[in-house]
């Protein structure tokens, strides 16, 4: 028994990404819409390097084995990009998370950043730390880090629930910039009210493309747009057909 609809969907997605990646390699323009949060993030990274402060990348509480692990992977991609830029600064970026598997991957990411920059000896496992196991303990551990580690910018990229308001609140009280995105819908509602620059909807998943993580990120972003329009079309067709069938019956 073969699940054709899922297979078709995945095949279409993969083909879109691969084709758009090839097209992207031949084009210099990304054709991305403006998301102010990412521009502000770039400025914040440069500023933190200049003034010797630290960028805090919070990857959230999801594990790699859950669907929210995709958001954590985006957080890792952004950590890698931020680390590439800011690892040479006096205060290198620091990452927090609430799951052991993501912690291991985050430490690998930071370690590779240091290795790429020839700073392997400067690497410390403390740069990727698990702040807490439960969502609230994670938030509590992250709050203290924001106050103690000379953080100037908080980038929340991962899976956060409403407890993220505690983190953004700590950022606001310490007068630091908070850019936050989550895949959690209640978390997004909270971040809309509490973060300086919230990433709503799937904007979080665009982080890699906007931070220059690679052409595949841009291609997958365009593939998402294509499939979104396909889904919208299917929804409209389904709704209209349902109405018509209801009226006719």
């Amino acid at each position: 028994m073969i699940n054709f609809d899922i297979l078709l969907f995945l095949t279409l997605f993969v083909v879109c990404i691969l084709v758009l990646s090839l097209l992207k390699n031949n084009s210099k323009e990304d054709n991305l819409r403006d998301i102010p949060a990412f521009y502000r993030l770039k400025g914040a990274i440069e500023l933190s390097v200049e003034d010797g402060s630290r960028i805090h990348v919070a990857i959230g509480r999801s594990g790699i084995t859950s669907p929210q692990g995709a958001a954590a992977m985006i957080g890792l991609s952004m950590l890698k990009r931020v680390g590439n830029i800011a690892s040479e600064s006096d205060e290198p970026p620091i990452a927090t998370m609430g799951d052991g598997t993501i912690m291991v991957l985050a430490q690998d990411t930071i370690r590779n950043n240091y290795a790429d920059l020839g700073l392997s000896s400067s690497y410390s496992n403390d740069l990727g730390r698990m702040a807490g196991i439960t969502p609230f303990s994670y938030a509590a551990g992250t709050m203290s880090l924001i106050f103690d580690e000379d953080v100037s910018t908080n980038l929340l990229a991962g899976s956060f629930g409403p407890e993220s308001a505690l983190i953004t609140s700590a950022g606001e009280r310490s007068q630091t910039l908070t850019i936050a995105g989550t895949d959690n819908i209640p978390g997004q509602a909270v971040l809309f009210a509490t973060a300086h620059e919230p990433l709503i909807g799937e904007e979080l998943y665009a982080g890699g493309a906007y931070l220059g993580a690679g052409p595949v990120h841009v291609a997958s972003l365009h593939a998402q747009d294509i499939l979104r329009w396909i889904i919208v079309g299917l929804l409209v067709v389904g709704a209209v057909s349902g109405i018509i069938s209801g009226l006719t019956s």
Binding site: G63, S66, E91, P135, E172, I185
Partner: protein, 723 residues
């Protein structure tokens, strides 16, 4: 003294000659008080016969000669000096343009000049006056401009000398010194301009020695003539030496090295012997003839001041005399080779290069050392010891500093230094302070909220009406529970965090109570690490009144790690996912839960009569729907949920679906209160209802008025900005 080419540009005289010319031309020195700074040359003090000292000794003896004095005074009046300085500075532009060419010719010129000096020496011995005249002419050219130009010389031509170049220049005249130190004063006070060590030393020494010199002068002028009984102090006229006389440390080793270098460069090693004879004259207590004669003359001649080993403190830019020592050095007596031993002043002893006087044996004879075997002085014996710190046969690592620093240049240096230092300094990160007004406002809001919530707790009254409207998903939940046969195995998943235990307990208590009343056998599980603890807490506090719970015979499968993967694994094969969970049976023995009721009936997840998920997280709830519900739908096993109010918008569509993926749904405290209304059993949701309502009411007021206030405030600020 440095042998660096910088200090020996084309046509440059040795330092002390250079100083001579400048001192002679010092307009500030009147005839009465002007010390004959020519004598300040260390070599003179040492009675150096070769090159200049013999001649200059005579010369300086002759400096008491009126002819010489007149010449010196007349030849270098202020105007003249300014003119030639100006002309030289004008030439600097030309010289700068010709820099490259000069650099190439410097070495040869230098050698030529050494030869000239030899000639001058011979000439001086024959006719001191004519020599003096020639010096007067030459020193015009060999003045400041040459020194300044010297800095432009390419160091690489004299790499082997570069190690020495850090040392002070041999013939820095007082004028230059004062000028440059004065100019650098302002710069140095504000910025850490990297100066050569020798200059820093001189500069600091000058500052520190001024007061000391003054006090010493006073003592000299006063009564303590016994202590100043050396030959210098005999010439001292305290009344005429009011000004402080700072001592400048000269590096004799460098001076001599310079002399040797000339010889080496000239290729005339024979001259080295003459240079080395200096050391013989350095024997203490031997006054050279020329010095003795000068001494006598000085005593007799009122115009001749004390030996020019004193220097007057002069304002910046004023030509100063040479180094002075306010302290008399002990003179030893004795003669050797017809030259009376000169007393070595203490200042000179202080500045002597280490090891130099060590070459003098106990008998006072000079100890001939071994010839150098390496370096540019190879083959030369008794050369001054080359110390690692002084002589480094390598490129100069310290950049040269052109000491002539104009005011404009000082400003530029200051700006540049600020820029550089600002770049080098790691900015101290400002500790980000906590915004106090925000914190105060938070405390006020917290106080209002907590008071509103606590009032019903204290007064114990339940005034708020329970929700009367019942939602269909809540009714569906109640119907499903009512439809369960007794002793039905029901899997209850605790998927919330301790922080939301208040809401989740209130929302689910009525449902679990209803299940236990219906006689269902509950089996507990969690994919959250805190789940088992929450289960125990829940059962102990809320359901302990039920026998099934109180007997503790219920199976608790505990925590299954792995998140959604573990959940899928459990849905596939429950027993293999949690194989070893033990329960104490009625006989007090631990038995595997899968071997006793109710789990002994469970082979697959569909064997449960109902699945109840208590979750605060829509993602976790969705995981159960997406991973487990497909298995349950095969046998129409109901998947029901008690969720947090925040998850309702996301989970409700799964109930409102066809076919339903979630068969029954209770959301939030209000949902729990509704369920209690339906089941007609009061539970904690009803008890929380008043406080919950009060808290929400205060929240509404705060948000409403806070929003209005902030909107108006923001509007006013924008309006002010527009204005």
């Amino acid at each position: 003294m440095s042998l660096d080419q910088n200090e020996f540009p084309e046509e440059e005289l040795p330092d002390w000659l250079d100083g001579l010319s400048n001192e002679e031309g010092d307009p500030a020195d009147d005839g009465d008080t002007k010390p004959n700074s020519e004598l300040e040359s260390p070599s003179e003090e040492l009675g150096i016969p070769s090159l200049e000292p013999p001649g200059t000794g005579k010369l300086f003896n002759a400096a008491s000669d009126e002819k010489a004095s007149e010449y010196l005074q007349g030849e270098f009046d202020e105007d003249d000096t300014d003119d030639w300085l100006q002309s030289i500075r004008e030439q600097q532009g030309i010289l700068a343009e010709e820099e490259t060419a000069e650099e190439k010719s410097d070495t040869s010129d230098f050698l030529e000049r050494i030869q000239d000096l030899k000639n001058e020496e011979e000439e001086l011995e024959e006719d001191p006056q004519s020599f003096l005249d020639s010096i007067g002419n030459e020193t015009e050219a060999a003045s400041e401009s040459e020194f300044l130009d010297s800095s432009k010389i390419d160091d690489t031509n004299l790499d082997w000398l570069s190690g020495i170049s850090d040392e002070k220049p041999p013939s820095l005249t007082s004028e230059l010194l004062d000028n440059r130190l004065g100019d650098l004063d302002e710069v140095d006070e504000k910025e850490n301009v990297e100066l050569p060590d020798w200059l820093i030393k001189i500069k600091s020494g000058e500052d520190s020695e001024v007061d000391k010199a003054k006090s010493n002068e006073e003592s000299l002028a006063g009564e303590d003539s016994a202590e100043t009984g050396d030959w210098m102090d005999q010439f001292a006229d305290p009344e005429e030496t009011d000004l402080a006389r700072p001592k400048i440390d000269f590096n004799l080793e460098e001076d001599l090295a310079w002399i040797k270098e000339q010889d080496v460069l000239a290729g005339d090693t024979g001259e080295i012997s003459a240079v080395l004879d200096i050391s013989k004259n350095l024997e203490p207590s031997v006054d050279p003839d020329w010095l003795s004669s000068m001494e006598e003359k000085s005593l007799a001649d009122a115009e001749i001041e004390m030996p020019d080993i004193t220097i007057e403190e002069r304002p910046v830019g004023e030509k100063g005399s040479f180094v002075a020592s306010e302290r008399g050095s002990e003179l030893a007596t004795g003669e050797e080779d017809g030259i009376s031993r000169a007393e070595v002043p203490s200042w000179l002893q202080a500045i002597r290069p280490e090891g130099m006087f060590d070459l003098i044996g106990e008998d006072g004879n000079y100890i001939l050392g071994e010839a150098e075997t390496t370096g540019p002085l190879a083959g030369i014996g008794n050369v001054l010891p080359a110390e690692p710190g002084n002589v480094l046969f390598s490129l100069n690592k310290v950049p040269k500093v052109d000491l002539y620093v104009s005011k404009t240049q000082q400003v530029h240096i200051s700006i540049l230094n600020d820029m550089i230092s600002a770049e080098e300094e790691t900015p101290s990160v400002k500790r980000r302070s906590i915004a106090i007004p925000q914190q105060v406002l938070r405390w006020i809001i917290a106080g209002l909220l907590y008071i509103a919530v606590m009032i019903p707790v204290f007064n114990g009254q339940m005034n708020a009406p329970l929700p009367t409207a019942t939602h269909p998903e809540i009714s569906a939940m109640s119907d499903i529970v009512n439809s369960l046969p007794p002793s039905s195995p029901v899997l209850v998943a605790f998927e919330y965090q301790p922080g939301l235990s208040g809401e989740m307990e209130a929302a689910s208590a009525a449902v679990l109570d209803h299940l236990l009343i219906r006689g269902s056998e509950l089996v507990f599980i969690s994919t959250s690490p805190t789940g088992p603890g929450l289960i125990e807490h829940y059962l102990d506090t809320l359901l302990s009144n039920h026998t099934y719970i109180a007997d503790e015979k219920f199976p608790n499968l505990g925590y299954i790690s792995g998140g959604i993967a573990a959940l899928l694994n459990f849905a596939n094969n429950p027993q293999s996912t949690v194989p070893r969970v033990y329960l104490e049976n009625t006989e007090g023995q631990d038995v595997n839960v899968w071997t006793v009721e109710p789990l002994n009936q469970i082979k697959k997840i569909q064997d449960f009569a109902m699945i109840l998920v208590i979750s605060d997280d829509p993602d976790t709830a969705r995981s159960w729907i997406e991973q487990v519900e497909p298995y349950l739908s095969e046998d129409d096993v109901p998947l029901t949920m008690v969720i947090s109010a925040q998850a309702e918008p996301l989970i409700y569509p799964y109930y409102d679906n066809s076919p339903r993926q979630v068969s029954g749904l209770v959301s939030g405290l209000s949902g729990g209160a509704m369920y209690e209304t339906i089941s007609v059993r009061e539970n904690i949701a009803s008890r929380y209802w008043d406080g919950f309502g009060n808290g929400l009411s205060v929240t509404i007021i705060i948000i409403l008025f806070g929003g209005i206030f902030n909107s108006v405030n923001s509007w006013r600020e924008n309006r002010q900005k527009v204005r």
